[in-house]
């Protein structure tokens, strides 16, 4: 902030037709000193070309190892409003559904104890409350939990599981994403609130391969709805589509496995070669539908670049039937955690551990059978299971 209180560099970010975070923080600044000082210190950071935030710490609520992320600024005398500016993660409802009443209640609590600023939602999926002080944390926790909310995950624990809207709003959903997400969240409360892992572990549930929650890129375990049998075809509707689109160019030629053929009157699909990518179904939803035998593909290892580079999840179970109470999924997750816990270094994500020790170690300890769908880099021989004794 300049001495006259102006923020010329931030003001540049208000220009243009798109929404501006500066505009929104300025609105909050009319009633919140924290929001005003947030603007001021951000302007200062832009000018100094250095962040003025300190990270980490010990702040939290009694009994919980996550849910609060400590933030202090390094210029508390100049910017007292953000001397403490801790973040609180609230476990979002499955599918990100809220009633307006619930949101009003939550925002009333936040206006009372915090800066009034929020993120909907953080990259893990949590509802994020930005900026409060250490001595307000227990009160916020007490009032939010009294309204039925709970804190989300942070630190070396299971992060808040998240999912797409699934069957509640989408005809493509092959699994009940919201129920799976909710069930896993409740099954793994201890792992969510009491950090005991080598590092973070994220679970995301997508109803189909369109992957609206970006599970493959953002989750250590991606649960993607799919089907095992054949795509259902309505040939009459395919013909209708052919009147308004070039099926060969837009659909069959774009099929990644080239398993489709359109001869001008009939669409044929070689389901054995289909990788269930959803491209054809997306383009012709009236004519094509997923098969009837539904379940999920389980993938492992997605992460952003921190210790090592970014990874996309890769297949560990091509098809898993998912039915209540999802004990098969829970069993697999617990086995993976046990292996990771035994072998993982501090701050090593499970995907990095697979890279370091190899799929062989992971498959042997979890009892998963090696299958061709796991091959990420053909011809690099990732699944030779002979031991030294076998080749003597």
């Amino acid at each position: 902030m300049s001495k006259d209180g102006k923020t010329p560099m931030l003001d540049e970010l208000e220009k243009g037709a798109w929404p501006s975070f500066v505009k929104e923080i300025k609105k909050s600044a009319k009633k919140s000193n924290a929001a005003q000082d947030l603007l001021n210190i951000l302007e200062r950071s832009y000018r100094d070309k250095v962040t003025h935030w300190k990270h980490g710490g010990i702040v939290g609520v009694l009994g919980y190892g996550g849910g609060v992320i400590g933030r202090y600024c390094d210029l508390p005398e100049e910017y007292p409003g953000v001397a403490h500016f801790h973040t609180i993660r609230i476990n979002q409802p499955a599918g990100f559904y809220y009633t307006s009443t619930a949101l009003r209640e939550l925002m009333d609590i936040w206006d009372k104890y915090g800066s009034g600023l929020t993120n909907f939602h953080g990259s893990t999926g949590d509802l994020v409350l930005l900026g409060t002080q250490t001595d307000k944390l227990e009160a916020i926790f007490a009032e939010t939990t009294a309204k039925g909310w709970d804190l989300g995950g942070s630190g070396s624990c299971l992060r808040t599981p998240s999912c797409c809207a699934g069957m509640s709003r989408c005809e493509f959903a092959n699994i009940d994403t919201m129920e799976i997400c909710d069930t896993l969240t409740h099954k793994f409360q201890d792992e969510l609130h009491r950090p005991a892992f080598p590092y973070k572990f994220k679970i995301k549930v997508a109803g189909c391969a369109n992957d609206c929650v970006a599970a493959i890129a953002r989750a250590d375990m991606s649960i993607i709805g799919t089907w095992r049998d054949t795509i259902r075809i309505d040939q009459a509707e395919v013909k209708n589509y052919s009147k308004s689109m070039d099926i060969k160019t837009e659909v069959t030629d774009m099929c990644p496995t080239h398993c489709m053929n359109w001869d001008g009157s009939t669409l044929k699909i070689g389901d054995k070669d289909c990788n269930r990518c959803m491209h054809c179904i997306n383009l012709m939803p009236k004519a094509l539908r997923p098969g009837k035998e539904k379940g999920a593909t389980i993938m492992l290892g997605g992460k952003a670049p921190i210790v090592t580079g970014a990874l996309m999840s890769w297949v560990i179970v091509p098809f898993m039937k998912l039915e209540k109470p999802y004990d098969n999924l829970e069993d697999l997750i617990r086995k993976l955690w046990e292996w990771w816990d035994d072998h993982g270094k501090n701050r090593e994500r499970i995907g990095e551990l697979v890279d370091r020790l190899g799929m062989r170690s992971m498959l042997e300890s979890t009892g998963l059978p090696p299958v061709p769908q796991m091959v990420k880099a053909p011809r690099s021989n990732p699944y030779v299971f002979w031991s030294a004794e076998d080749v003597k």
Binding site: K54, H55, G56, G57, I58, V59, G60, L62, G63, Y64, G65, G66, I69, G70, Y72, C73, P76, P80, A83, H84, Q133, T134, D135, S154, G155, S156, C157, R194, P195, A196, P198, Y199, D341, N346, R347
Partner: protein, 78 residues
């Protein structure tokens, strides 16, 4: 080893490491395993100590278990 004895051992281990090494929950359960406690027993002991406020979780890149203290980076509350 009974539950209270294990809790005391866990606390003593954390106290001994305070300021020298940040102990992860896994470090604690490994150390207690060597003393004859199962991972589940250590987990339960940690839960009692954390819930009682004798120990707290901290986060600096990874999660550690520490005795409550004012951290160096903490600003005084206005």
């Amino acid at each position: 080893m009974d539950a209270e004895e294990l809790q005391n051992k866990v606390y003593a281990l954390v106290e001994k490491s305070q300021g020298k090494k940040k102990l992860k929950p896994k470090d604690i359960s490994n150390a207690m395993e060597a003393e004859g406690a199962t991972q589940a027993e250590t987990k339960a002991a940690l839960r009692v100590l954390i819930d009682g406020g004798k120990l707290v979780y901290s986060y600096f890149g990874g999660t550690a278990v520490e005795i409550p203290h004012t951290e160096g980076s903490a600003n005084p509350q206005s």
